[in-house]
């Protein structure tokens, strides 16, 4: 394996996960634009290091490429990895930032035959997979979906998993007595959807067959970082909540509710390697508890990737990945448009 980008996610999430999979996957090459970080992180796993994507892709020891760089580089790097003839590519979510990039990735994947996995870790979580195997006809009756994420700032959890090198100093907290301007609010909502809600949006889409009919009804930011977004996708009401506050107690829940049955999943937080989610499928007469299992979705996605590279597993259909991305982009765009509509209404009322 070769990993593009050796920031905190690689250090605290992926390398500890891979350390438990030594008989399956081996890290051969680490690339980061910061040579000190690349060298330090590579040394932890006895891998080569470099500061350029081209050098890593040219390394014959690398059969699988994992793309863990900042969002804006994902599409270019996925395409380059496919063209380099690797066995499989894992790209952190989101795997593109617009529809054109997504279409280009789908085309190159089809052309080269290189399978692509997007690191939507909750879709690989054993708790989610057990629920999916057990929920029967639930998706047909779901009328309401809720995703609620409450997390402390990432460094608290990163430090439980590893010793981070090259950590970027946190951005100054916004002044809570000063309302952010429209551009800042839009950026927070877009960042919230593409950076946080996106973890659960593939799950949401599983229960929203009319996912192209997205209508965002309301979008607000939560200080210091978070969102309250209400939307509809066809007949399904979808409520997204997130707050990254100073709490020590994380809470990450996903719910899908129908008239006669409902699903509730409590996910473990990222970084801490605390096993899988626990899922509960309820009816009036019963509660079925699934999990927790010993590994989380990150380890699940690596296992899946190894199976695909060996030819023993099936890659997700590119169409699924593109639909997931389009769903997320549509929500992010519409949430930002809500802010514009709100600002216009305010100006009209003030005139």
């Amino acid at each position: 394996m070769g990993i593009l980008g050796a920031g905190p996610v690689t250090q605290a999430i992926h390398l500890p996960s891979l350390a438990r999979l030594r008989g399956i996957l081996e890290v051969r090459h680490i690339m980061d634009v910061d040579p000190a970080v690349a060298e330090s992180v590579a040394a932890r796993v006895g891998a080569r290091f470099s500061t350029s994507m081209e050098e890593l892709l040219a390394d014959p020891a690398v059969e699988i490429v994992a793309i863990c760089s900042p969002h804006q580089f994902h599409a270019v790097q996925v395409i380059a990895a496919c063209r380099a003839g690797k066995k499989a590519v894992l790209c952190e979510k989101p795997f593109a930032m617009n529809g054109e990039e997504a279409a280009a990735i789908a085309a190159v994947s089809a052309e080269t035959g290189v399978p692509i996995v997007v690191g939507a870790m909750h879709t690989f979580d054993p708790g989610w997979l057990a629920a999916e195997a057990a929920w029967g006809t639930l998706p047909e009756q779901v009328h309401t979906v809720r995703s609620s994420i409450v997390l402390p700032p990432n460094p608290r959890f990163e430090d439980f998993a590893t010793e981070i090198v090259g950590r970027t100093p946190p951005a100054p907290a916004p002044d809570k007595d000063t309302a952010p301007d429209t551009a800042a609010v839009k950026a927070m909502l877009t960042g919230g959807v593409m950076g946080l809600a996106i973890h659960d949006l593939p799950l949401v889409r599983r229960f929203a067959p009319d996912f192209r009919a997205v209508e965002v009804l309301h979008a607000k930011t939560v200080m210091p970082f978070g969102y309250v977004i209400s939307l509809r996708a066809g007949d399904v009401a979808i409520e997204l909540r997130a707050a990254m506050n100073g709490t020590w107690e994380p809470s990450w829940t996903f719910e899908a509710i129908g008239n006669d049955a409902s699903l509730s999943i409590d996910f473990t937080p990222s970084y801490v390697h605390a096993g899988s989610a626990t899922a509960r499928i309820r009816t009036a007469a019963s509660t079925t508890v699934l999990g927790p299992f010993g590994h989380n979705g990150y380890e699940g996605e690596w296992r899946k990737l190894a199976e695909i590279a060996r030819g023993t597993g099936t890659a997700p259909r590119p169409e699924t990945l593109i639909n997931d991305l389009e769903f997320a982009l549509a929500i992010a765009d519409a949430a930002a448009a809500c802010v514009d509509a709100g600002a216009a209404a305010y100006e009209e009322a003030s005139a």
Partner: protein, 272 residues
């Protein structure tokens, strides 16, 4: 020795308020009326304020109204004051004993969280077929009973499966109230106040049994769960009625309900 007050309940009130079972659990305070009752239980269906006003004018010493729908209680309040009768509203979630004035530690924990709130997220669960307005009235009653002040409320979606109402807290933090119907979960209300460094969560149970409410507070120092109270909102309402009659001090239920009714009325007027 305390003399039991004699209770009469109509069939609707009996069904929704489990009046017989509750009265049986307070045998020193109440007894079923064979003839003229001291107190009556009424169902809070449309027109309940007129029925309660008539009951007060008939000379009963107290009235319990079970699960009242939004309705202006001003005339009833005036009639009750004139007659010296006590009126207690048996609200599904707002009437839970964990939210009583006497629960100072709980109220302080919620109040502290609200003072530092970054988000209020509340969900009310109802059985399929529950009228959304009825669910919303119960829901808003629960939120207000937690000491929450809501501003700028508006309904952004409503259908047979529930509703979403958004607004803000006095400090500007967003507030979102969602009603959801399903038979897979009991009729529960949750109120979650996220703060800059923790949260407070209040879970109010179905009042058809003595399930306990849960109140949990998380601060930077740790988490606290408050003592459980195995008493339904129904039974707590009847205990409050007895106390109000014995002390002669009226409960503030109608005053609070007037504020709730006004809030529900504003939501009718707001664009959807």
């Amino acid at each position: 020795m305390t003399t039991p007050l004699l209770v009469q309940a109509g069939p609707d009130a009996e069904q929704t308020g489990a009046v017989g079972a509750v009265v049986a659990s307070l045998p020193v305070s109440f007894a079923p009326a064979g003839g003229g009752p001291d107190v009556v239980a009424l169902a809070g269906t449309a027109g309940w304020t007129a029925s309660a006003t008539a009951a007060v004018r008939s000379g009963v010493r107290g009235v319990v109204v079970v699960d009242p729908v939004a309705e202006d209680p001003a005339a009833l309040a005036a009639a009750a004051a004139e007659a010296g009768s006590a009126v207690v509203l048996d609200q599904a979630w707002a009437g839970n004993p964990v939210l009583a004035e006497s629960q100072a530690a709980v109220r302080n924990a919620i109040s502290d969280a609200l003072a530092d709130a970054v988000l209020l997220d509340s969900v009310a669960w109802g059985a399929p077929g529950t009228d959304p307005e009825t669910l919303l009235t119960r829901h808003l009653g629960a939120v207000l009973a937690c000491g929450v002040e809501l501003e700028g409320l508006r309904v952004i979606q409503r259908n047979a499966n529930g509703y979403t109402v958004i607004g803000s807290l006095p400090g500007g933090a967003p507030a979102a109230l969602q009603g959801i119907t399903t038979s897979s979960l009991p009729a529960t209300a949750t109120v979650s106040v996220l703060t800059s460094s923790g949260r407070a969560d209040i879970t109010l149970p179905d009042s058809s049994a003595g399930w306990t409410a849960e109140v949990r507070s998380v601060t930077s120092a740790g988490a606290a769960t408050f003592p459980s109270i195995y008493e339904s909102a129904h039974r707590h309402s009847w205990r409050r009625l007895r106390a109000a009659i014995d002390s002669g001090a009226p409960e503030a239920d109608l005053e609070r309900f007037a504020a709730l009714t006004a809030l529900v009325g504003q939501l009718h007027d707001s664009p959807q």
